[in-house]
């Protein structure tokens, strides 16, 4: 279960979900915005063109009505008797050749025209003679119309007789003309009109709600367009401009439309498609940004939630396994998380793995234990007097341990450790080990090496690590008189103390080549006698409490095979 170090650290799951959701949101938003922008641009372009068309219709109606009104007005004015009389008198006096009389008549005429100018408040009111010369004028632009000034009129040939463009010097006026009749004769024409200047363009622009340009003879006479656009339009006019379409003004797409044409004059409306798009965009962008931010936040929340929902069971599973690894406790099984079928499947698989490992380990351990037990049995069998000793000590030790309330794990360790407690004797020669009489001091020194040797043997087997203290220290005495280290009291582990007592008890009750086995009661007495010095008193007490219940059976079995004691002890353990 060790985590292997990787060359590159894998990113956290939440990073992946965030990246995936953000990428999705980004793509969706981009496509949405792109489509919207294209669609909007198309719609706006059509809209602009439609607006221009609508503007054209309205303006045409408006202008026609205005011209008709002006024409009617002029016609009515021409019927003013004083005006007619003054004009006719002037013309007559002029033919008769009395300059002062003519001047007087002309002054009368001028006075009449000035009165009309004051009434009409138009840019120009003028009377011209059939030779297109100004006789009298009034209005804002009267200075441009001095008497005798030649006036060029365009638009007469179009059949729209009353809708004319008058050119005076360099200036253009949109005028209506009404002939002044006297009897069958036509004395002249009354013109009223507006100068085709920027003010006129502005007036039309405010009505049509677009930019207006007045083009006379292919040149811009007046416009509401700012300077760079005006220059672009002049260029476009030189190249030729149709009735409607789009053109680039200062590199910006504009829709244009010829709203009216009279005489040598055209009125064009132009409207920037981009400006219209911008107007709509500026209204829509805050909303779209709101949607975008909302989407990103929702995506982030969803990603975090998803990541948490996915990783939390995995993290918990990981922590559980970590706990099992640290405690080396594999008996428990992981419970299904219920979060997702995949994680539960992983848990189930892991549990199966643990079971398989457990089985495998117990089989391995069983094989080891079997081998060691065989070794211990073989060791015991070297001497007839010690045959079955290891098994008995093991059984007794477990009985004592159980009496002392040890945990199942400690009992397992005790059982196997007791079985192996004399394994170090394998290196001691039969001559010493099976010597029928008392050992010499040197020989005893050799005997005293067996706990150390046994410990060394067990160190080579990994899972017997816990059993080493039992083997190594089962001859230590509480008073420090034991071997090999001479540990005292609490320095000696409990399991070693138990095995020490059980070993002594079995040694005393077993026959030796040089003596008979002593009765259990004697052995107990001996134990009690040495309690505190050679044996730990609490273990001896446990022994005393554990043994009497089985003493009779133990006594009866003494004459028979030692196996009986083992089976007895096993029964006692399993009970």
């Amino acid at each position: 279960m060790k985590r292997r170090a990787r060359p590159r650290r894998a990113p956290r799951f939440v990073v992946r979900t965030l990246a995936a959701s953000f990428a999705t949101v980004a793509v969706v938003l981009s496509v949405m915005f792109g489509t919207l922008v294209l669609h909007t641009r198309e719609v706006v372009r059509n809209n602009v063109v439609e607006n221009l068309e609508a503007g054209q219709r309205e303006l045409a109606l408006f202008e026609k009505e205005r011209q008709q009104r002006a024409s009617l007005q002029a016609t009515v004015l021409t019927e003013a008797p004083t005006l007619k009389a003054a004009l006719d008198t002037y013309l007559t006096e002029r033919t008769v050749g009395d300059p002062s009389a003519a001047e007087q008549a002309k002054a009368t005429l001028q006075r009449e025209i000035s009165k009309l100018g004051g009434l009409l408040r138009s840019d120009i009111v003028a009377v011209i003679d059939p030779g297109r010369h100004v006789l009298a004028s009034a209005g804002v632009n009267t200075a441009l119309w001095p008497p005798g000034q030649r006036v060029r009129l365009d638009g007469e040939e179009d059949g729209v007789a009353f809708d004319l463009v008058a050119t005076v010097g360099e200036r253009q006026f949109r005028v209506v003309g009404a002939p002044i009749h006297l009897g069958d004769a036509q004395l002249g024409t009354l013109l009223t009109g507006t100068q085709l200047d920027d003010g006129y363009a502005s007036q039309l622009a405010s009505f049509a709600r677009t930019n207006i340009s007045v083009v006379v003879d292919g040149e811009i006479a007046a416009t509401t367009l700012p300077e760079p656009l005006r220059q672009s339009l002049e260029g476009a006019l030189r190249a030729g401009l149709g009735d409607t379409g789009t053109l680039l003004l200062d590199d910006e797409p504009h829709a244009f439309r010829r709203l009216q044409q009279f005489g040598n004059t055209s009125i064009y409306a132009t409207d920037s498609v981009a400006a219209a798009t911008d107007r709509i965009s500026s209204a829509a962008v805050p909303k779209l940004v709101g949607i975008a931010v909302g989407s990103v936040i929702l995506a982030a929340i969803a990603s975090l939630w998803l990541a948490r929902e996915t990783t939390e069971p995995i993290r918990k599973l990981s922590a559980d396994i970590e706990g099992m690894v640290e405690s080396n406790e594999w008996s428990q099984r992981l419970r299904a998380s219920g979060s997702s079928a995949e994680v539960d499947g992983l848990i189930t698989t892991f549990n199966k793995l643990i079971e398989a490992l457990e089985v495998s380990r117990s089989q391995t351990e069983a094989a080891y234990v079997g081998s060691i037990r065989a070794l211990a049995t073989a060791l015991d069998a070297r001497d007839t007097y010690t045959a079955g000793h290891s098994e008995r000590v093991s059984a007794l030790s477990v009985a004592l341990g159980r009496k002392m309330g040890l945990s199942p794990h400690d009992l397992d360790v005790l059982r196997l450790g007791a079985l192996l407690h004399d394994i170090g004797k394998i290196g001691i020669s039969d001559a010493i080990l099976c010597k029928p009489n008392a050992l010499t001091a040197d020989e005893f020194e050799i005997i005293k090496t067996h706990p150390t040797v046994g410990a060394q043997i067990l160190r080579s087997i990994p899972f017997l690590e816990e059993h080493i203290p039992i083997v190594e220290l089962h001859h230590e005495n509480p008073d420090g008189s034991g071997y090999p280290h001479g540990y005292r009291g609490q320095q000696i582990p409990l399991l070693a103390r138990i095995v020490h007592v059980a070993d002594a008890f079995d040694a005393m009750t077993s026959a030796r080549a040089y003596r008979q086995g002593r009765p259990a009661a004697d052995a107990m007495t001996e134990l009690w006698r040495c309690a505190g010095s050679q044996f730990h008193a609490d273990v001896v007490e446990a022994c005393g409490a554990a043994l009497p219940a089985t003493l009779a059976e133990l006594q009866a079995a003494m004459g028979n095979r030692d196996d009986n004691i083992v089976s007895f002890a096993r029964r006692a353990l399993s009970a």
């Binding site: 009389a85 007559t92 033919t95 009368t108 059939p130 007789a161 009749h181 036509q186």
Partner: protein
């Protein structure tokens, strides 16, 4: 344009009259006659201006049609002085919203009556230097008059009907005539001599023709007057 010489300086008038009176008898025998025909030509001074969408005001349907040649005046430009014509009294009638006749020629001191022959009010006024007047408004059957004391041309209008106009030419000599309906004219009792005859139309101005008058003879001639196309 015109070489018509009037008014005559008043200071020299008395001298001339005296001289003329003394020579009147003798001259009579030496005088001749001018009889002519007026031919109206056409002359364009420019393209006609477009008509109004509403057209002109034509109301005088019932008015008698007056020949255009009757609107032409003829006189001797360099008329001999000394003969003072006798004043006359004439009528310029207002009938069917039209002044009848449109053109009149009278000697100085003559009186013109303007009787109203229509069922509605009319007015007569003039803005001309020669005779400025306003006779006011008056109903059918009523009449107003004005005496013209200065030579010259007077245009007369009606304030109520702007299309009405009349022309009255006032002369301080007797050598003038108005065209007739058939386009002829006659100037009688012209002292023999060489003259310049002027034919005048209000739209065309002067047309001068040289004429020689023999005693007791009738000089015949044709005068072509260019008129602006109506």
């Amino acid at each position: 344009m015109s070489n018509l010489r009037y008014p005559i300086p008043v200071a020299g008038l008395a001298v001339c009259i005296a001289a003329a009176c003394s020579m009147a008898e003798g001259r009579a025998a030496e005088s001749g006659r001018i009889a002519g025909t007026i031919v109206l030509g056409l002359k364009r001074t420019g393209r006609p201006l477009p008509l109004s969408a509403y057209g002109a005001r034509h109301v005088a349907h019932d008015a008698a049609v007056q020949s255009e040649s009757s609107h032409v005046l003829v006189w001797l430009k360099d008329a001999p002085r000394g003969v003072k014509p006798a004043p006359v009294a004439i009528e310029v009638r207002q009938q069917d919203e039209t002044f009848m006749p449109h053109v009149s020629a009278i000697p100085v001191g003559s009186t013109v009556k303007f009787p109203n022959g229509d069922n509605y009010f009319h007015n007569v006024f003039s803005l001309s230097r020669t005779a400025s007047f306003d006779l006011g408004r008056y109903p059918r059957g009523d009449s107003r008059q004005h005496t013209f004391t200065k030579p010259g041309i007077v245009k007369v209008y009606c304030h109520l009907h702007s299309h009405m106009s009349a022309l009255i030419a006032v002369f301080d000599h007797p050598y003038f005539a108005r065209g007739t309906e058939d386009g002829t004219f006659t100037i009688a009792d012209v002292p023999a001599g060489r003259y310049t005859l002027t034919a005048w139309h209000e739209r065309a101005g002067d047309t001068d023709v040289a004429v020689v008058v023999e005693p007791g003879e009738t000089t015949r001639l044709e005068v072509v007057v260019p008129v602006i196309e109506p």
